[in-house]
Amino acid sequence: MSRLARSAGNRGSTPREAKRAMTYEVLLNTVGWPLAKIVVLLAAVLTVVAYIGWFERRLLGLFQSRLGPNRVGPLGLLQPVADGLKLFLKEDIVPLNARPFLFKLAPVFAFFPAFLGFAVVSWALPWATPSGRHHGFVVADVDLGILLVLAVSSLGIFGIILGGWSSGSKYPLMGSLRSASQMLAYEIPLTLSVIAVILLGGSFRLSDIVAAQQKLGAYFILPGLLAFGVYLISAVAETNRVPFDLPEGESEIIGFHTEYSGMRFGFFFVAEYANMVLISVIAASLFLGGYDLPGVDDAALYAAHPNLASALGVFAFAAKSALFAYFYVWIRATFPRYRYDQLLRIGWVVLLPIALANVALVALLKLWLLR
């Protein structure tokens, strides 16, 4: 903003030139940079989402004494491309009983919330250009970053409900009902565990939360250990992954996308992996300090070499998120699926009271110890 005023005052000698410079600046700041950031972020996220599938399958293979997909390209690195091509080329079937409009709308509902959440994640300290400007590593640095993520991800359930209902078949309907009650049950502990972190950090903004962790000198996984546990469990349930994969049940239960084929199924598939990446990224920045470099004084490094600190921050963030992705694959390789009543019991009877008590606990902690 000061930059705007300065350019208006200094650059233009005549009023018209000043006006033009100002308009240019406004356009660049309101349209140009956000668009560029969105494109870069989407490309990066889509690549990661494509390769997290490969990563999961390779790792799962190693856990099970297999090798995993290694035939397409070196190390199987072209496997996501092959899968995507296959899905694109398959026939797109709309069942006779389906409601066509809702049937086609449902994958969109599943797909977009998963990607919208990435907009508020701040990936590193701002990048400084030689001209003295700072570009934040974030698309939308809004006040209520994490709340926006929660709000938007709560919309993903509509993809499942509408997809199951509009298929015009009873098995997807049953699958979608299972899924809906599961996601309702686990959304509350998830939100409460995030609220505990918000209390500790004192802000909804993810960069503020990371800054609070740097100021505290410890990651929030220590004061919020209980919240971390609740978050981990309910995040697995929210993303419909093993051992809470009842909505989908790859191996035996018929899930909500039974009637979907081709790229419409692909949308659900990609949305699941995007949710997994999003959950990992949020967990990394809430509990593991995000782009904070462990064992390094970030503020001093940023004052000395701002761009080095930013670049290293992105890598630290990626490494911390990858830890969570590894954890998800690990538990997928280890645990069998829960029964449906066990699943709801864990959600309502175990996690919810723990999460509620934890919020009170963290509030007291904040009140007395961390002021």
């Binding site: 208006a8 809702l102 709560s154 359930i157 309907l173 009902l177």
Partner: protein
């Protein structure tokens, strides 16, 4: 901005009409969902981000899910064939029309001066008045200084604490009543 508002308002009104006029309950529910999302975007345009997020989180993400589950379990074909309004239709129409006209009148007469700050900056730049641009920017900075969640929390927990707590008590009573009604043996 005004254009965006007209677009959104038309969209929300169309969704509301869809809720009322549609014969299929699931179409009603989906248009209600679209209307909630539209209202959320409207809040965003008004710079009430917290309210927008709460709208999406609570209404679109929570309540609509329960609605949809309820609708899925009803016999939608039978509902489609049922005539849902009998003699009430015309009296209700005139009553709602009168209410609508009255509300429109009140809204038209009241003063709203909240203009989006970005628009002001652009206008100021267009008028090539440096001083006014600077004051507009300062105003914007002042607005942004007080963060949105903080404003909401100050309103809820300082200014209107007693009504807020009273509402929570009311909700608790409602929950207890619901449990009492639903559970046969306590």
């Amino acid at each position: 901005m005004a254009f965006l508002w007209i677009l959104l308002a038309a969209f929300i009104a169309a969704c509301a009409l869809g809720v009322v006029l549609s014969r299929s309950p699931i179409t009603s529910a989906v248009s209600l969902l679209a209307g909630f999302l539209g209202v959320g975007i409207l809040y965003l345009c008004l710079r009430a981000e917290f309210v927008a997020a709460a709208q999406v989180l609570v209404y679109a993400g929570g309540i609509m899910v329960l609605y949809l589950i309820g609708v899925m379990f009803t016999d939608s074909e039978a509902l489609r064939l049922t005539r849902q309004a009998h003699f009430q239709a015309w009296p209700a129409f005139f009553l709602v029309l009168a209410l609508f006209l009255w509300m429109g009148h009140r809204l038209y007469r009241s003063e709203f001066t909240a203009e989006p700050p970005v628009l002001r900056v652009a206008v100021a730049a267009g008028a090539d008045q440096e001083a006014s641009a600077k004051t507009a920017l300062a105003e914007r900075a002042g607005l942004a200084k007080e963060s949105n969640p903080r404003q909401v929390s100050v309103a809820l927990f300082r200014d209107f604490l007693y009504p807020f707590e009273a509402a929570s008590v009311l909700l608790t009573v409602a929950v207890l009543g619901g449990v009492f009604l639903a559970k046969k043996e306590v």
